[in-house]
Symmetry: C2
Subunit: 420 residues, 2 copies
């Protein structure tokens, strides 16, 4: 295949993660690499994803990250990699169907042509892969030669076609670390008490499963774990609590925000009794808050609910070195694959067989098989009773949280990279 | 003064912190030290503080932490120091007035006599110092010779008579670290949004003040900060939000759980459960939730509330090395002071003058001047408008969060010490 010479553009899209900037760093690094020399003539960063691209809010990454010797500035890349959220900014814009509404795509191609942009990299999750899918399909039919490649990013670990997704390992590490601390905290008193911790994950329970990780390394783990993949039953839950109280007074329960009753309604959608604010608004309780009231009603003991909330997705101070390394490698693999001709695809992670120890390689998969699809926790990873995860599940997750990132700090706080 | 020869007992009380076990490690280390040789004949640990002591649930710390060479097992002490919560267990038991109800005190003295316990160390906060106060007063009048020394511990930093308290620096570091990550996370989108983060601190705003720390080190800080020491006014708050929106679309607000209106009612009162703990404290939840609805009602934009909750007090994975070091030193200072005759006192931290750089020394203060009293954030540390903290406030806090603890990990998770 003839080499396609021109500029590249990279964007970040969807929810922030601790590792999405490591992938951006990987893209930048590869654009300075051997394979890109004389091929990738410049690298632009879109501010706020496709939204900023449409407004031509582009920044010259190949200038910003150039070292005096002409290579990449590794110190800046290292800072960028340890910065959480999305340094370029993000968006949640869903593209229209190009067949029905081609104007937006025509505008994009005009921008690409004006700057001779021949490579398009988009770092994101399921929804962002829809953008990659639509854009690559439109480009293929437009007569303009450009390679469109998706780079996986999601804390939810729900992208299909890949063993796991960059961003998940760091979120899982923070969740496992904080859960272990919460379990220690809750164990200090002797009075009966239940602490219910709500973890992100509307449809896939991968993050909640990570709460159980300390169990297989001899640490302190929650007593019960409920994933959205298993139907939630209040009587079974109360029986689980009662059985757990037989063994110890301090119980810790991990629940996914997305747990559902057998009629499909979210546990967290139930109304919290008597809870209206000064304006008369009813609170949507959240799964943990709802269960707090259910347990308090039944057992009359001290009950507390905790939402790990935003910190679990942007906890770069507790990144997994494995995750950061793979996130960067996925970014570089995307650039290398595109130079060799890949388009309409997403970079995937392939795990080597167990016998060889943990190691990964990178491939590409047709983005049409990935966009808007979800990979959920399989049945064999959940106990029969649906109140915990199995050891094989934890064996799958554990390698992804290994390794600590030596953070650059100033005055006790991690230093972040910013384009502002 | 003649040396008082006998056993020592140490307990942990009140809420968990990331550093309370470092203070326990300091007590254990000093009990093996030069000054204790031939004086402190054994060291016992009370399970669950005074509650376990009354049931004689004691464990032989001097055996558990003995190295083969007769000194302290530094490897075990290091693991103990990086373990959050209270390894011995804790309690929230308030002692009665010995004049009115001496039976409990008589029972304690009986236990002390039987085991020849001559040193009593209690690691805790304001309420725990009430125990130190009452017990030392009773002991003084009982004719039994025993030294009773309090060791400071509180994430709230509200103990009077000391520059700051062990446990605060690590909580402040975690809060500042996670706030910076939250601010990065919230900055990725361009749509107007307000994120309100609720931080622990019923009466003292020290923890909430720490949220602003990134500001003086060039990091990302919240736009507005509200402490319980300043009267909260809804109109002024809405005006602050409106003014902040003039500058940027993504606002982050840090609020203390204890912010109050000018009539003294808690902003979070609509969420208050009405129950009180044994010390008469009301349980609060909901300042951020209440403000979320107030802002949504006024601006109609995206609003989100986050409670940092329990992880902020037990986040040992993000400990301040300064805090851990001082926590251990305070424990050792307590043992050394008691051997030299101190009783009825608490160890205090004295900060050297600014000209000499940051350094501390340890003294003792009469526990009657500390028990049940609170040290709040002074007026000069809060802006005139009451919507942020001043630079001198942050200059005071910053040295306390400096330094990272090299954690011992296994499979990506910190290893904890446990007596179980």
């Amino acid at each position: 295949m003839e080499k396609l010479i021109g500029a590249a553009v990279v964007g970040q899209s969807g929810g922030p993660t601790a590792a999405i900037n490591a992938t951006l760093a990987g893209v930048i690094r590869a654009s300075f690499g051997e394979g890109a020399r004389g091929v990738v003539t410049a690298l632009y960063g879109m501010r706020n994803g496709i939204e900023g691209l449409l407004e031509e809010r582009l920044i010259p990454l190949s200038e910003i990250f150039a070292a005096p010797d002409g290579g990449a500035d590794e110190e800046k890349l290292s800072l960028l990699s340890q910065t959480p959220a999305a340094a370029l900014g993000s968006c949640r814009r869903k593209l229209p169907d190009p067949a029905k509404d081609p104007a937006l795509f025509e505008k994009l191609v005009k921008i690409f042509k004006e700057r001779n942009i021949r490579y398009f990299f988009y770092i994101g999750g399921n929804d962002s892969m829809d953008t990659v899918d639509k854009l690559s399909a439109y480009i293929a039919s437009s007569g303009y030669d450009m390679r469109v490649v998706g780079l996986p990013k999601t804390i939810d670990n729900d992208l299909p076609g890949t063993d796991h997704s960059p961003g998940y390992g760091s979120a899982a590490k923070l969740i496992a670390t904080e859960m272990q601390e919460i379990v220690r905290d809750c164990a200090v008193y002797t009075v009966p008490a239940v602490t219910i911790v709500e973890i992100m994950g509307r449809d896939a329970g991968w993050l909640t499963a990570a709460a159980a990780l300390p169990r297989i390394v001899g640490g302190a783990a929650p007593d019960l774990v409920y994933l959205p993949e298993a139907i939630f039953s209040t009587p079974a839950f109360l029986a689980d609590i009662r059985a757990a109280f037989e063994k110890k007074p301090n119980l810790v329960v991990a629940v996914s925000e997305g747990i559902r009753f057998d009629d499909g309604t979210y546990v967290g959608a139930s109304e919290q009794s008597g809870s209206t604010d000064v304006f008369g608004h009813k609170y949507l309780a959240g799964a943990a808050r709802t269960l707090e009231h259910i347990v308090k009603n039944e057992f009359g003991c001290k009950v507390r609910s905790i939402e790990l909330s935003l910190p679990q997705r942007c906890g770069a101070h507790c990144m997994s070195l494995t995750d950061m390394t793979e996130a960067a490698a996925a970014g570089s693999a995307g650039v290398e694959a595109a130079i060799l001709g890949a388009t309409g695809c997403m970079i995937t992670i392939i795990r080597a067989s167990e016998q060889e120890g943990y190691s990964v390689s990178f491939e590409t998969a047709d983005v049409r098989r990935i966009a808007n699809k979800e990979r959920r926790v399989p049945a064999e990873f959940i106990t029969e009773r649906g109140n915990n995860v199995t050891d094989p599940c934890l064996d799958y997750i554990l390698p992804l949280i290994r390794g600590e990132v030596p953070l650059k700090t100033r005055d006790g706080l991690p230093v972040h990279f910013t384009f502002d």
